[in-house]
């Protein structure tokens, strides 16, 4: 089987004024056929190659940003007849991903993870002594997680107090997902803190946070069963769409977030809101899973590169 | 002095009473108490290890949480919590389980007048159901004073609003025991008031008249309470 591999040589677009979708473009052709014959057949008619400058760009002008106002739910076209999405991506195309390890110097492990315009930082502290004695667990490590959003992360400046319901819920989701992959029994009576900070939110923050947390945990050298990677997919205009951005996410359609342990080939996280027929759900979930695998490959490469650097620095 | 009441009751007539206990499975003790359309559910948890906040090495602590039917707890609920707490503290034997906390949760199911008395009665049954040591039972009743001076018992919400003033009174249930009667100056114990809360202006004489009538009506309530407690916990009792 062919590897789905992000184009690592490609340097990301410096200016978001000319934001384009380009990652995975060609490679995803294979995925598609494998995934969904019907979709592939539909797609066969389409032109190959990229068509730039299509669709409004939500990031271009903050003052007049369509980002703040929710697009109306009534029949909006999220996929053009040519089969392109609002930001110019194809339905099965992921946004560009980029990761960097070791961005917070004082943390035990840290990473930045970007999916298109979504950008999150994760920092891991621990394993260390449990701060609150009453929470100590005698036979395994205590994993804690806090998710917070920067005031400037959304289009409209948000002024939510810390610890609102959404943040608490996402904190819990991330904690449970990460707890499942950390070998907590190796570190009894200790505590591991995972802090994720969203710098820019453009849909899929949940997935981005989990990916960033995985990298940060790996950077901190915390023993894990496997890395966890996550990706979301949705279903709009009767088309399954991979890696929804904010506008697609707020369209109100179904949104499936999947987290997998790629090596063990197990699902650790599966969330969906809104309803979806079972057969379509399988398609969408399958698409998200493939996205996860693509992310996993990229993360593995980043980690490998990081290890090589470490080796080099040590003079090995 | 004949009074027309909307539901055709006489002045001293109470609404139909209903009481069932052990209605919740997770709680240590629970009860529901209906007075006409006013319905209150009470649950008791405890005695459990004392929370640090209200630790007392000599006495048990009682904590009341009042859940209104809708909305959030405001000042009114805080006041009710305080009155209930003080009332229940005075009927429980606190020295048996020192350094413990007993929580009583009151959930208002429906309010159709005389809410606080109804809640006190429900809490009382729930405490018995949980087996919390008590000195005696308490029965609570609401008396309304009209502008023309007559007094009615156990008003509905509509009557409560129409009347000039009303008083919530809590009387102790008479103790049938071998112990010497705990009374002073020759007055029987059930004439003493545990709690009294009034609202609106009334003359002092009106108040004493309320006391007298309330005390008489409380005897009926008291009987019902005793009867329903003697019954098997699961079957509910009804009275007219």
């Amino acid at each position: 089987m062919m590897q789905v591999r992000p184009n690592l040589d490609y340097e990301g677009p410096k200016s978001h004024q000319h934001h384009r979708a380009f990652v995975f473009g060609f490679e995803y052709g294979f995925l598609k056929e494998k995934l969904d014959q019907k979709e592939a057949a539909k797609r066969a008619n389409e032109q190959l190659g990229f068509v730039f400058d299509i669709g409004p760009n939500p990031w271009s002008k903050p003052a007049t940003s369509s980002f703040g106002c929710k697009p109306s739910l009534v029949k909006m076209e999220y996929v053009s007849p040519e089969g392109l999405r609002l930001d110019g991506r194809r339905p099965m195309e992921m946004r560009q991903i980029r990761a960097e390890i070791g961005t917070v110097a004082r943390a035990d492990g840290s990473a930045v993870f970007e999916m298109g315009n979504t950008k999150v930082i994760a920092a891991v502290y621990g394993p260390r002594e449990v701060q609150n004695r009453s929470q100590q667990i005698s036979d395994q490590a205590l994993v804690r997680c806090e998710y917070s959003m920067a005031n400037f992360s959304t289009g409209d400046r948000m002024r939510k107090p810390k610890g609102d319901r959404r943040s608490t819920e996402i904190s819990l989701v991330i904690r449970q997902t990460m707890e499942a992959c950390i070998l907590t029994h190796l570190m009894p009576r200790s505590q591991i803190d995972i802090f994720v900070q969203v710098l820019q939110a453009d849909g899929g923050t949940r997935s981005a946070c989990i990916n960033a947390a995985t990298l940060a945990l790996a950077d901190a050298g915390i023993p894990m069963r496997d890395i966890v990677t996550s990706c979301s997919a949705g279903y709009l205009n009767s088309t399954p769409l991979l890696d929804l951005n904010y506008i697609e996410d707020s369209a109100g359609g179904p949104d499936v977030t999947v987290g997998i342990l790629p090596k063990l080939d197990k699902v650790t996280l599966l969330q969906m809101d809104a309803k979806l027929p079972l057969d379509i759900f399988e398609n969408v979930m399958g698409l998200a899973t493939e996205g996860c695998k693509a992310v996993a490959n990229y993360i593995r490469e980043v980690l490998l590169e990081n290890t090589k650097q470490l080796e080099y620095r040590r003079g090995l | 002095m004949e009074v027309d009441r909307e539901d055709g009751r006489t002045q001293n007539q109470l609404r139909p009473l209903a009481c069932s206990r052990n209605v919740l499975h997770r709680a240590h003790g629970s009860a529901s108490w209906y007075q006409g359309d006013t319905k209150v559910l009470a649950a008791v948890y405890g005695p459990k290890a004392g929370a640090r906040k209200n630790e007392n090495p000599e006495k048990a602590c009682i904590e009341v949480i009042w859940k209104p039917k809708t909305g959030q707890t405001g000042k009114l609920e805080k006041e009710y919590e305080m009155i209930l707490k003080r009332t229940l503290q005075s009927i429980c034997i606190l020295t048996v389980n020192p350094n413990t906390t007993t929580s009583i949760i009151i959930q208002v199911v429906n309010d159709d007048g005389a809410l606080l008395p109804c809640a006190i009665n429900a809490a009382c049954v729930a405490l018995v159901d949980a087996g919390i040591p008590m000195k005696h039972l308490a029965v609570a009743i609401c008396c309304c004073v009209a502008k023309s001076g007559y007094v009615i018992m156990d008003p509905t919400k509509l009557e409560e609003q129409k009347m000039k003033s009303f008083a919530y009174l809590v009387f102790p249930n008479s103790v049938h025991s071998v112990l010497p009667e705990g009374s002073v100056q020759g007055e029987p114990m059930e004439h003493g008031i545990v709690t009294s809360v009034t609202h609106g202006i009334m003359s002092v004489d009106d108040y004493f008249y309320c006391l007298e009538r309330g005390c008489a009506a409380s005897a009926k309530l008291s009987d019902f309470l005793r009867r329903s407690l003697q019954r098997h916990p699961t079957d509910s009792s009804k009275a007219g």
Partner: protein, 256 residues
């Protein structure tokens, strides 16, 4: 019954018909008068009294013109926050306003900024090592705000600490100066503060001649800073004397 709970109608406080009040001074006009007729370098008469709150370990009341402040000190007592062992004591400060303190009805909430400033102004003067593992709480309530609130709170708090018998190196006196146009006015009132171009607040221990806290806003040149600081230091010295005599009176009164 009469009050309808839950329905809080929006209210406003009626304003004067004249749109804007004339500013208290004009541009570069050098001979304007302060609204209360004081000289530029003249402070308001200060009134202090200790022992205003019986249930506190120590307390003081201060009145500077319309600025009225009560400070209570509790402790040293057990730390409420489960803190780690510490061989020095903890100082906990809180400043709040009454709802009617300001001309427009406020929320009466805590003033976090002032709380932390009060903490910083006092911590250098208190011998924290004399009450290890425990906390001293300093709570201030501004009954009426008439300008220079923070300096009054700080001076009053140090008197309350003295009244509570907390060991200190010295009293802390605080004075602020406002810069209006080219003039420096000491101990500004609320109206002057709302027009100020810059301000300086200095808290010091008068007998030790040490500055515990210093805050500037606005644009200052070095000679201006020298002048303003000297002004404040002199005023703090005088204020220190008033505070000292208040304490002496209180002790002599209790001995009688």
């Amino acid at each position: 019954m009469a009050a309808k709970p839950g329905s809080a109608p929006t209210t406003y406080s009626p304003s004067l018909t004249q749109k804007t009040r004339p500013p208290i001074f004009k541009g570069n006009d050098l001979d304007w008068v302060r609204p209360d007729g004081r000289g530029f370098h003249q402070c308001r008469p200060a009134f202090f009294r200790t022992g205003a709150v019986n249930s506190a370990s120590g307390s003081a009341y201060a009145e500077f013109g319309n600025t009225k402040v009560i400070v209570s000190v509790f402790g040293p007592r057990e730390s409420k926050k489960a803190m780690m062992y510490s061989d020095i004591g903890r100082l906990n400060c809180n400043v709040s306003y009454t709802t009617f303190a300001t001309p427009v009805r406020g929320q009466g909430s805590d003033h976090k900024e002032f709380s932390s400033m009060l903490h910083k102004a006092l911590e250098g003067a208190i011998m924290l090592e004399t009450f290890p593992k425990t906390t001293v709480d300093v709570f201030a309530l501004v009954l009426e705000s008439g300008g220079s609130d923070l300096p009054v709170v700080i001076s009053c708090a140090s008197l309350a600490l003295a009244d509570a018998g907390i060991m200190m190196y010295d009293l802390v006196a605080a004075v602020s100066v406002s810069c209006l146009g080219k003039n420096l006015v000491i101990d500004p009132i609320l109206e002057e503060e709302s027009y100020q171009d810059g301000s300086l607040m200095l808290t010091c221990m008068p007998s030790r001649y040490e500055v515990t806290q210093l805050i500037f806003t606005g644009e200052w040149s070095t000679p201006d800073i020298n002048e303003a600081m000297q002004l404040c230091l002199d005023a703090c010295g005088k204020l220190g004397k008033v505070m000292r005599s208040c304490l002496k009176e209180a002790t002599s009164a209790s001995q009688e």
